[in-house]
Structures are given as structure tokens and as C-alpha cells.
């Protein structure tokens, strides 16, 4: 039940961010992007029993980025729209907050741990985008026969 609430609230939150970033006249894109964010979180929940937190975030973000690139090609829209909105469930907002909290309460072990987790999550997010974007660039090059032997 808790997971269902998380997924639904992730969808609503992403939709909110789509509006914040001024996706107003293309409502289907806003909904699709939010769906991508929710999909990412579903993947996270599916893999978290088997993998570490950072690896789960990586998997989730790979799915979000894949979804975004595919949707960008279907809708003929920039992939940024979908990625920027869809990444928010994985953006380490909680990590930033907790790191600060442990710093204030002089809890060094927990502080270092959560700092590591926060930076790790941000790196996972970055790596996922790196992997997927490179993959799609290669496909594009092969398709257009733009390679130089």
C-alpha cells in the first residue's frame, strides 16, 4: 500500500514540476513525462531488495532516460522535457536534507554516510543519462551512416 501511495505521489509531484517548468500548452507531454518519473520509481522499488541504494537509483534513472529518449523520438520533441521532469523522484533532495541534519547534530558517522549516499545518487543519475544518451547517439550515427571508417 505504501508503495502504491509513493508511486501515485511521485506522479503528482512530477506533474507539478512539469507545470513549474512551464510545460503548459503541451499537456500530453507533461503527463507522459510524469509517467516516466513514476515508471522510474516503480523500477527502483522492484530492484531495491536486491541492490544497494545507489545501484537502484542508477537502474531507475536508466529506465527514466530510456523512456524519455523513446518518447522524444515518438513525439518529435526535445528529450530534455521528459528527462528534466522524470528525474525528480531520484534527485537526492532527501539526501541533502539529511546530510545537513546530521551535520547539525554532530553525528559524524551518519553525516559521512549520508553525504556519500547523496553524492553517489547524483553520480548515479549522471551516469545513467551518460549511458543512455551515448547509446542513442550511436544508434543515430549508425542509422544515418554518419560514421567514418
Amino acid at each position: 500500500m505504501e508503495q502504491v501511495i509513493q508511486c501515485l505521489s511521485a506522479f503528482l509531484g512530477c506533474l507539478g514540476f512539469a507545470f513549474v517548468f512551464r510545460v503548459h500548452r503541451r499537456l500530453p507531454y507533461a503527463l507522459l513525462a510524469s509517467l516516466g518519473g513514476m515508471l522510474g520509481w516503480i523500477v527502483y522499488l522492484l530492484v531495491i531488495p536486491y541492490l544497494s541504494n545507489i545501484m537502484s537509483n542508477l537502474c531507475a534513472m536508466i529506465v527514466v532516460a530510456l523512456f524519455s529518449e523513446i518518447m522524444a523520438r515518438i513525439c518529435k520533441a526535445p528529450a530534455t522535457i521528459f528527462i528534466v521532469v522524470g528525474c525528480f523522484p531520484i534527485v537526492p533532495g532527501k539526501g541533502i536534507y539529511q546530510t545537513m541534519l546530521y551535520l547539525i547534530s554532530h553525528d559524524q558517522d551518519l553525516f559521512l554516510d549520508s553525504l556519500f549516499q547523496t553524492v553517489g545518487t547524483a553520480l548515479a543519475l549522471a551516469t545513467a543519462i551518460l549511458i543512455v544518451s551515448t547509446f542513442f547517439k550511436v544508434i543515430k550515427t549508425i542509422k544515418q551512416k554518419d560514421y567514418h571508417l
Binding site: I5, Q6, S9, A10, F11, L12, G13, C14, L15, G16, F17, A18, F19, V20, F21, R22, V23, H24, R25, R26, Y29, K76, A77, P78, T80, I81, I83, V84, C87, F88, P89, V91, P92, G93, K94, I96, Y97, T99, M100, L101, L103, I104, A122, L125, A126, I129, L130, S133, T134, K137
Partner: protein, 251 residues
């Protein structure tokens, strides 16, 4: 066709792309493609997050270069999308100057729908408050705080406060409100409420865009945005931390 006017219009499209938060590689690629489609030679484009320069040689052999600087970039994905469509159209159909000018005007006059922006702030903060373990109470209160945050950020922008200070002040503002609501027992999960509201400030765009720039070899822009992301995160933490120390008695 008047090529000087044409290059001005093309540069204007580039400026709008940059201003509305497109990635650097998109700006560079769009400008290059548009110039190519009109048969210009020796195209050189270089863009940074707030600046770009381009130089071309026209078909009669004369060359020109121009630079544009944008201040106050704000993410407007609707405009990026519209500009992207326009660029694609220009590349495929090489329309006349008048048509391009008209389209630029149309995109410029597309104002964001304010009620939706406000709804977005409320929905974003509320949704993530629930996402991070809050209940219905936390969601509603975070939504209200998110709503107020919009006006707070707006006032800061009018006063011309720089973005780092703005982020710090906004995160202080939201923490004060959240702690007050908590003190008067309107919410039970302080952490979830604060994190939900914080999400609005987090540098998600900076992280994602910077990486997409680095992939394309734009290390300077990518690095600039990465640094921005790091500073924003620090500013958020600073604001929350300060208020939590100052208002310790109320928690």
C-alpha cells in the same frame, strides 16, 4: 533574400533557445543546421550557458560574426519545444524572413499560464511531501508552503537578489513556515514536509543538462552547470541548517 537580416533572425532563435533553458549542444546544433540549410559557409558556433558567438560566410563571399548574451535564463520547456519545431521547419523548408520573424514573435508572446505555474508549485511540493513519507496533512501544508514559495521567489527576483542568496533565503523561508506549522500541530512529520518543499529548489535541471552537455564535449558549459548544481545544493542545506539551529526551541 536579405542575408544580414536572416542571420539576425537565426541568432535570435539561438538566444531564445539559450534563454529558455535548452542544452548547449542543442543551441549549437540548431544554429549550425539553420545556417547550413541556407547555404552559408564556414559556420562557427560556440555557446556557453549565458552567451554564444557565431560567424558565417555568405554565398557572395562576405563574412559576418555576431555574439549574443542572455541574462536571466529561466526554464520554459514549452518555448524550447516550440523553438525546436521552428528550427526543424526552417531546416526543411528554408522559409522567408517574414515568416521566421512572425514565428519568433508568436513564441515570444506565449506567456506562461500563471494559475498552472502556481498549481505546479503546490502540487510539486505537496506530491513530494507525501512521496517522502508524509500523510495527507503534510501534503496539503507542503502544497500551501510551495504556493507561498512562488511569491517569495518572485519578490526575490524583483529585488534582483542573486540566485545563490535567493536559494538560501527561500530554503530558510520554507523551513520557518514548516517549523511554525509543526509547532502548532498542523503537521506531524516535519522532515517530509521540508523535503517536499526543498524539491522545488533542488538542482535537477542543472545536473541533467550539465551531463548532457559533457557527453557532447562541451566541457566548459557542463562544468559550469555542475558547479552551479553543487552550489545550489550547498545553499539549500545552509538555509535549512541555519533555521533549524535558530528555531531549535520550537521543534
Amino acid at each position: 533574400m536579405n542575408e544580414q537580416l536572416l542571420i539576425k533572425n537565426i541568432a535570435e532563435i539561438g538566444k531564445l533557445l539559450l534563454k529558455n533553458g535548452a542544452e548547449i549542444y542543442r543551441v549549437e546544433e540548431s544554429l549550425e543546421r539553420m545556417c547550413q540549410s541556407y547555404g552559408f559557409q564556414d559556420i562557427g558556433v560556440f555557446a556557453l550557458p549565458t552567451y554564444f558567438t557565431m560567424s558565417v560566410t555568405f554565398q557572395d563571399g562576405t563574412s559576418t560574426s555576431l555574439t549574443k548574451r542572455t541574462l536571466q535564463n529561466r526554464t520554459n520547456l514549452d518555448a524550447v519545444c516550440a523553438l525546436n519545431d521552428l528550427v526543424r521547419k526552417i531546416c526543411n523548408e528554408t522559409p522567408t524572413n517574414d515568416f521566421i520573424e512572425q514565428q519568433i514573435q508568436a513564441i515570444n508572446s506565449l506567456h506562461p499560464i500563471m494559475p498552472l505555474v502556481l498549481l505546479g508549485y503546490g502540487l510539486g511540493a505537496g506530491g513530494y511531501a507525501i512521496f517522502f513519507g508524509g500523510g495527507l496533512h503534510e501534503g496539503i501544508i507542503a502544497g500551501i508552503i510551495g504556493f507561498l514559495m512562488y511569491f517569495f521567489i518572485w519578490i526575490n527576483e524583483i529585488l534582483g537578489i542573486n540566485s545563490l542568496m535567493r536559494t538560501t533565503l527561500t530554503s530558510m523561508f520554507l523551513t520557518i513556515l514548516a517549523i511554525l506549522f509543526y509547532h502548532f500541530h498542523l503537521i506531524y512529520n516535519l522532515d517530509a514536509t521540508i523535503i517536499g518543499c526543498l524539491m522545488i529548489l533542488t538542482p535537477g535541471i542543472a545536473i541533467t543538462n550539465s551531463l548532457r552537455d559533457i557527453i557532447d564535449g562541451n566541457y566548459v558549459s557542463g562544468q559550469a552547470r555542475l558547479v552551479e548544481a553543487f552550489f545550489i545544493a550547498t545553499a539549500i542545506a545552509l538555509g535549512v541548517g541555519l533555521i533549524r539551529i535558530l528555531l531549535k526551541g520550537l521543534i
